[in-house]
Each structure stands twice: as structure tokens, then as C-alpha cells.
Symmetry: C2
Subunit: 459 residues, 2 copies
Amino acid sequence: MLTLDYTFMLSDAVPGGVTPAAWSGATDAFASAHASVTARHRSGELGFFDLPADASLLAQVTDFVARTRARYRDVVLLGIGGSALGPVAPRNALRPPQWNMLDDDARERWPRLHVLDNVDPVTIVAILGRVKLPDTLFVVISKSGGTAETMAQYLVVRERLVAAQLPLGDHLVFVTDPTKGALRPIATAEGIPALDIPANVGGRFSVLSPVGLLPAALVGIDVKALLLGAGDIVRRTATDRLAENPAGAFAVLQWLADTTAGKHVHVLMPYADPLRDIASWFVQLWAESLGKAHPDGRHVGPTPVPALGATDQHSQVQLFMEGPLDKTVTFVAVGTPLVDVRIPAMHADVPDLAYLGGHSLWELLNTERRATAGALASRGRPSATIEIDTIDAWHVGGLMMLFEVATAYAGALYGINAFDQPGVELGKQFTYGIMGRPGFDASRLAFDALPRPSQDRRI
Amino acid sequence: MLTLDYTFMLSDAVPGGVTPAAWSGATDAFASAHASVTARHRSGELGFFDLPADASLLAQVTDFVARTRARYRDVVLLGIGGSALGPVAPRNALRPPQWNMLDDDARERWPRLHVLDNVDPVTIVAILGRVKLPDTLFVVISKSGGTAETMAQYLVVRERLVAAQLPLGDHLVFVTDPTKGALRPIATAEGIPALDIPANVGGRFSVLSPVGLLPAALVGIDVKALLLGAGDIVRRTATDRLAENPAGAFAVLQWLADTTAGKHVHVLMPYADPLRDIASWFVQLWAESLGKAHPDGRHVGPTPVPALGATDQHSQVQLFMEGPLDKTVTFVAVGTPLVDVRIPAMHADVPDLAYLGGHSLWELLNTERRATAGALASRGRPSATIEIDTIDAWHVGGLMMLFEVATAYAGALYGINAFDQPGVELGKQFTYGIMGRPGFDASRLAFDALPRPSQDRRI
């Protein structure tokens, strides 16, 4: 099971929270948001809702993996944004820690999975220098085929494969739009396998498409269970009754906290190392979906902040406890650990050590989570807790779908389009202009017209 | 050289920035903050200023490494907060990417460096299962010896070493207070080597003490150069003339942006993979130092947010461009790359690919940084750029010291104590209470008196 506990989000329990009046008054706003999202889904716009039940996409993934299983020792993913954050989160949640450092036996002959999510040459040289090309598969993920960073990586890799006289179709696989974009015709012309990102699935909502499923399946993750867990959330969020819809409650409470209680910063803080990158993935989802110019001229969108318990108790929690009253914290708790370690009783004469003996590490970790939530509550700072029974594919699929559905609702509540990202275009155009891409002379001129760095403002 | 360019922080260049009047009017406020910090330093309170010139601490580190060189293949660091963030940032900046995955030759016989920065049993079991205890050194970092997470890890590790009948003094080294705390007497009684964290150096300001220097030296980083680069910043920040003090300008502009221009979120965004964890380290420094209850009852402190270019252009930059006008972005630029890769000219008929050929990856990365700063400026969103010539120990030491000195100034400007963290005490007490530590019954009762999770607020 996956549950959302929002006791500490309401002001009758925690003074800084959302008032019970605002919460019960949001029933209609949520029903309306739910109707809007449902209508967009029915019109065919929001394909991410359909991914858990898409047997054909799943078959693309499982067929490819069945056909190539045991051929590769290294998989290198070329992608950025959702095309990297999506695949990384399941790998780190559902494979043993530091997967890439394990030997072949410990990985049960599944390959390592490297992710090139940037164009820093230091990283690319290091990774290409380490893998053996004949044993390596490069997964190129770009829906449009126009992502500059991913395309630059692809050109570098392609040149290496050609130089090594390796058949491109054996060492490249594309994940891209079914019909459009720059990569699809190359795949067709050159016999490079290509899996589909449905036209109605955007990058940051694509983890349950082949974008996330192919890398997951390649390293042995149970992708069917991922989809089943996500499907369970689709089922549970069919209702427009707020009190029964966990994604609805999450979205409405964060939106009310932002717009009625001044909580502009939304922290996601799992207490489990394997879920660390779920927080990074959530940051993109929440930031890029909700950070928008509103049609009425306002600029809206909470700032998501990733954290990790207990680690961040020694970093960000001081700010959460005593800084401005502008934050919510959502904890992610795990009911049952995969493994636990007893803390031995030693140094009985040292008070700082003696009390730990006989407890377990997992007990300490979860006690700290409850203590931190309690301490925040004592200071009037609201929090919510999402609990999953255990860290497995079913729960991780559900957790990610919960946040995706909540993001769709939140877009409707804020009154903006959660599914575009117009703000990043200008930077792309400036890049094209500076790089001399044909057709972008005007962007170059606009860039050159900006104020110049000034020597007397440089120290 | 390390320079700060703040052209785009001022409103005559970028409308949302700090007004030139506020900036020039801050000269006296800075001189006063500088005097306050200098006085605290002279009184012996702020030991971090003295670390670059502390030959004795450096000798503790270099002697230990000279004595033990080539004895260990794995170093496992037990620490949390500054004791982990500090060591991780130099390792990832100054050693080749994915250091721990390299073989012994590629590491030039320097050991791997694992960092246990949490008590999740999944991670601890994985790392302890992978290293060979006879070839492993455990570095236990806790100034007080009272850090629950680090002490729990220590007890687990100690039990394993005892069970393996290995001499503790050969496999443990403590980094702790020179005289006080729980670890120092254990070291003395059992012959475990122990290096000093000076009493006047706090955890998040300790990277240039043995906390950061010992792990760095153990993996072959030039720690003398780290200190020299930091020392150069100490020298450059001796002046109280704002226009000449780079840490002063950074602190004053962020403070003015927060308090006069509504910029409550401070993003740090290096455009270089090796500097990614400098941003995580900065988050602790800025959040834990400045997030405070002000003596006058206000709650102050900007929210630091880590980002990475170009990666985050596909994640957070939409929010930075179109979301609320509540952010500053500080870019970190690198003048000369350690290595570069030419992007080959291919697919001349595909416009999305053709323009990339002939450029280099490093050129693309830096073009994107300039384009992003320009796009933000075009939308009235302020930014600053710190440029370092290259990524080496001298510049990384300087960069980290720049932020530490700036944090000290910012504390004085905000009117709070940047060197304590009273807000985290309550959570610790609740943890002690729940764990049954003697003397914390009242904390247990206070925790039990908090509102209980309510079944009808759980979905």
C-alpha cells in the first residue's frame, strides 16, 4: 500500500498549516481540476495516464531486452532532463546500491547502466574510455531528436562506433517519437532499433514509457510491477472526491499552502537512500510543470527542494526549523526495510554511545523521521508523510505516478498549463544563435544586444 | 584567478536586480559586517580563517598519509553533514569521474573513497559487504563524538573489526575535537590515531581542516594547493572596501537581493560536472548558517537551491525563467577545460544535428551558460558569475573559502549568528527520548503530547 498522511498539514494540528476551512472549501476547486484533467486525458492529450495499461509499449521493451539479453556488459544512456532523471530514479531505487561498481556475478549478468546527462567533456571522455565498445549499448533518448546536448553526445558516440567498424544497429537504440523528429528517419534508414515515446507523453511524464522502462528492463528491474503499481494509482485517482484521492490531496494541500499560507518552497524528503533520486526527479516534475507565467500576467510556481533524511538533518533542517515560514516538507517513509543491521551494545560507559546499543539502524532512521516531523510541528511548520510498505517496483511505480497525477491537478489549480515549457526556448535560441545555426541570426543579434559584463563590476 | 562578475545582479542591467543605489548604499553596512567578522576572528572564535596557514594541522594529515600510504585499497568515511559534504566535494571535483569505479592502476594505487553519510542499512550493508576489511581504513569524523548517525555507524564497524580480529589502531582513524567529546578518550585508551578539528572550527566550515584534508590527501589530492588557493581568498578578503572584496560583494548582493528585491531563493549552478557537489556543500553552508530565528523575532534566511548546467536547463530553468521573481542564480564558469571533445560533422542534411559539427562539447556547455544567463537577464532575472581559470586544487580551495567568508559576512548582515544551529536540537532530543536515552524522558513525553496522525487524514 501507499498512503498519504496529511494530519500535520492542517492548522488545527500545526499552526502554520492550511486552515481546515480552506481545506474543506477546496472540494469544488478539486472537483473542477479533476474534471479538467480528465477531459484533457479523454481528449487524448495526457498520454501518461495510459502508460500503465499499454501492452504494446511494454512489449517493445521486453522484446528488445529478450532479444539482446546477455549481449552487453555496459549500457550508456544519452539523455538529459526527464530522459535522464526518469531512468536514474528506478535504477537507484530498485537495484542494489552502487550498481555500476558490482561485478558481473553480483549484477546477475545484467549490464551496468551509465547515464550521460550533460555535455561536460570530462565525464564523456571518462565513460567512453572505460567501456569496451563491442560490449556496449548506447540508448539515445530524445523525443524530438532536437535536444542539443543529447544530439552532440550521439554524434560523438556514432563517430567512435564507425571508427571501430561496429554495426550501428547492434550498438545503438533510439527512444523517440513514433513518427516525427530527427532520429526516426535515421533509425529507419540505417536499421537502428527505435522504441516509441507516444506523441502525447511529455519528457517529464515519460518515466513509464520506454524512456524509463527500457533502461529499467535492461538492468533487470521488473517493469511489469512498475506499471502495475502505477496502474493502481490511476485507479485510485479516478475519483473526484478529494478525501479519497491521494494525488488530489497532495496537490490541493501544496497549492493551498503556497497560495493561502505563504509556503512557496516544497521540500521532498525521503528517509531512504534508494529514494534519493526520486526527489531529484520530482524537482523537475514540479518545477518545470508549475513554474509558469500565468495568463493573467502573474508568475507562479512553488520552488521544489530535494532533501534526504536523516542526512539533511545535518544540513537543511536548521533552515526548515528556524528560517522563514515559507516551506512545506513531504516525508517519504518506508514501512519495512529490505535489510536491517543491529547496533551492537558497546562503550557502556560513554553516554553518547551507550543508548544506541540494541536498537537497529533502520529503527534509528525511522525514529529520526518521526522526531523531525514532530519537531517541525512543534514549531508550527507543516509536513505530510507518504508511506510505502517497502521499496519495490510496484511501490516505486505507484509513487512516481502519484506525483505525476498530482502535478496535473496542480497545474489546473494554479490555472496554468502543466505540460509545456515555453520559458526554456529563449536560452535555446541564444545557443543556436551563438553556435551559428542557420536561421538564428536574429537570436545572435538579440544576445549581442544584452548588457555586456562590465570590468568595474568584476572582482 | 577566481573572479566574481556581478553585472547582471544590478537593476540598471537587469530590471529585477538590486538597485545601484542599494548597492552603493551598502558600503557602510559591509564595512560594519567586515569589522564584526574580523573582530570575531581576532577574538579566536572563527578558526576557519586560520586553516590555510595551519602548518601543524597539515602535518597531521600528511604525516598520517605518508605513514599509511599503499596500505589501504578502500577508505570508508563515516560522517554526516559537513563531515560528509566537505570531503565529497573535493573528491568529485579533483579526482577523475567515478573514482571508485577505476581500477588500482587508474587510481595510481590511491584507495577508493566511500562515504557513509546516512544510516540506511541498505547502503551500509552494501559497502561493508564490498570492501575487504584487512585492506580498509575507516575514517570516523565527529567533532563532539555525539553525532548519533556517525556513532551508530562506528559501533557497527567496530564490531566487524573486532570479529575479524583486526587491530583497531590499524583500521580506524578519528577526526575529532583535540580534547573534548566521546571519541578522544577512546582514541587515547586504545591507541587509535586521531586528528584534530580545532575547537573553534564548526562542522560546515571544516573542509580545510583534517575533516576535508585527510580524505583528500588519502586519495592523492594536492592538499597544499587547496590551502594555498584558500589562503589567497583570505588575503583578498582582508579589505573592508566592498568593491575589492569578492566574498563581500557576493554576500552583500545576495543579502540585498533577498531583503530589498524579494529574491528569497539563491541558486548555485556550476556549469561543470566535477563541481556538482560544491553546490550541495554550499546548500548546507548557506542554509544552516543563515536560516535562523532573528533576535527580534523574525525568521530569516534565504533558501539555497543546487543546480547543474547544462543539465538543469531541462529541469529547473523553466521555473527560474517564468516562475515567481524570487530567485538569484549564481553560475560557476570554468575558463579552460581539462579535456575537450570535438563534435564531428555528420548528418549534414538534418538541421537539428548539422549545426553542431565542428564545435566542441566544452564550447557547447559554455555557450549554454552564457545563453542561459542572457535569457534570464532578458526576463529581468538577476544572476552573478564566478569564474575560475580551471578545476584544480588551488581554485577549488579558493572557491570554497570564498563561500565560507561570504557566509560569515552574510550572517553579520542578516544580524544573526552564522555559526550555531540551535534549530536542530529539538529533533535530536525527540530522537533520544524515543530511543530511551537516559535523561530524555521529558523529551519523550513532549513528543507523545504532539497531535497524533489521524485516520481520517490518511488516504
